[in-house]
């Protein structure tokens, strides 16, 4: 399947929200597999943004247009409202200035899609209750080498949005690829939000 792991349920959820032929900016796009997947599934166009040399090379190999850039410095090269969707997949929790990037997303794009590990997931809570930082499938790092410096829960993110007038359009919560509809802040491991300016 050209290296695309179609079993990644978060990809499918994002593809479900993205309209066909949309202009998409994928922030922290990694090796470009999500973009490539959306290109195939939804015929999107646009760019990935990535800081890491090896990932930039992988994007070129995956046929994804990529702009090498440190997201912490904002998105200056990108014009206001020049994309239908700006995606930030599994990157928000690693950003130093998470608030700024969300604002930048809504500056350059009509709508934003963000995915992050839910720190409120019960397994994470159990780790903390036992006195240890969580290490799991969605949070695979040790405390001393983790890039994840700004972890949050579903409730935290939703409060963040409501305080800033950001309108949450859709939400999908997953645990091991399965949708979680009951007590998502406790039972959900991965959060996917689709949002727009208020």
């Amino acid at each position: 399947m050209n290296g695309i792991s179609i079993d990644r349920a978060d990809f499918a959820a994002i593809a479900h929200w993205v309209t066909g032929g949309a202009r998409v900016l994928d922030l922290g796009c990694g090796d470009g597999v999500l973009f490539k997947y959306l290109k195939r599934e939804r015929d999107i166009s646009g760019y990935g943004v990535e800081i890491d040399d090896a990932n930039v090379l992988a994007c070129v190999k995956n046929g994804v247009n990529v702009v090498q850039r440190n997201l912490e410095r904002g998105l200056r090269e990108f014009e206001d409202q020049s994309f239908d969707y700006v995606i930030l997949s599994q990157t928000l929790q690693a950003m130093r200035n998470g608030e700024r990037i969300i604002h930048e997303m809504l500056r350059v794009g009509r709508e934003g899609i963000v995915t992050f590990p839910n720190f409120g997931y019960w397994r994470n809570r159990m780790h903390v209750l036992r006195g240890r930082m969580p290490v799991s499938e969605n949070l695979p790092y040790q405390w001393f080498d983790t890039p994840n410096i700004h972890l949050c829960t579903l409730d935290d993110f939703e409060r963040f949005c409501s305080e800033r007038g950001i309108r949450i359009l859709e939400r999908k919560v997953l645990t091991q690829g399965r949708a979680v509809n009951v007590m998502p802040n406790l039972l959900g491991a991965l959060a996917i939000y689709h949002f727009g300016a208020g």
């Binding site: 202009r23 166009s45 760019y47 040399d53 930039v56 090379l57 994007c59 070129v60 190999k61 046929g63 247009n65 990529v66 702009v67 090498q68 850039r69 200056r76 090269e77 990108f78 014009e79 020049s82």
Partner: protein, 375 residues
Amino acid sequence: MVTPQRAAFREPLPLKCGRVIANYELAYETYGTLNAGHSNAVLVCHALNASHHAAGVYAGEPDNVGWWDNMIGPGKSLDTNRFFVVGVNNLGGCHGSTGPLSINPDTGLPWGASFPVLTVEDWVSAQARLADQLGIKQFAAVMGGSLGAMQCLQWAIAYPERVRHALVIACAPNLSAQNIAFNEVARQAILTDPDFHGGDYYVQGVTPRRGLRVARMVGHITYLSDDEMANKFGRTLKHGHVNYSFDSEFEIESYLRHQADKFSGYFDANTYLRITKALDYFDPALDHGGNLARALAPATAGFLVVSFTTDWRFSPERSREIVHALLKNKRDVTYAEIDAPHGHDAFLLDDARYHKLVAAYFDRVFDSLSAEGSV
């Protein structure tokens, strides 16, 4: 093994300065094989002091290796097993194309000072005529670094239908005041050399070697980063102690002198003057109120833009201006910023990240040709 060739043009070429060159020749080289559909051609544009000899060696001259031989060749990043690569010496050059050294047919004397001042636009017009002669309607890619990359931009603007991809490496959309200042120092060194004779030094049997030497020294400093010079030379003394003299004492001095001697032995001063002017004048946004996106609006090529972090002559910031304009125009663009210590010269060096990236991009170019069944 490669053999330089020459193409003659009889149709007058109108130049941006308002003058016309009635007829001229271009020296060029090709590597690889043009396919039946003529779709696999790649044009390589040279920068300040290079030539059409981009890759390979000449028979009997094993040391005369092409200037971008680490990039171009069988199995290399620009793979000549797949692509038909064309290197061309620009008009006004001193490596075989018509230039100030050539005989002006109207006078029977070398052109010298009377050779026109050329622009990047003129070079690209001349290159397009060479492409016509070679039967290349459209290049799979046009590629260059520095001033060569400016030619790529110009190609994409002037002949959008003839350029599928542009590889724009270590480029700037125009020169900064500081860049122009360095060029002016170089020109003043040449123009004030007593052997310059207003540009007609050939008939005097001399060359303004001293001026060229200083020009090359100044240029060379701007191609290297401070760190690279510190690593390579530091404050190392040639003889381990100072002599309280003006001989070359520090390693960096003897390096610059060596480069200057080498360069002034083969490069023509009139060509150098003109090339620095072409650099100074290049500014595609000028006719669009300084709006680079509007200047690049006609360009439909896919772009690979590459910069190097320690390049202070054409800094990454300048490449980002190009990327910004292309993004604004919603073009296919990939931008990479290579963390290399070598300054502007990095585009000529064999850096694995850089070369792998170019190779991957050319794979993409080749795959798109294959998908169309045109290879």
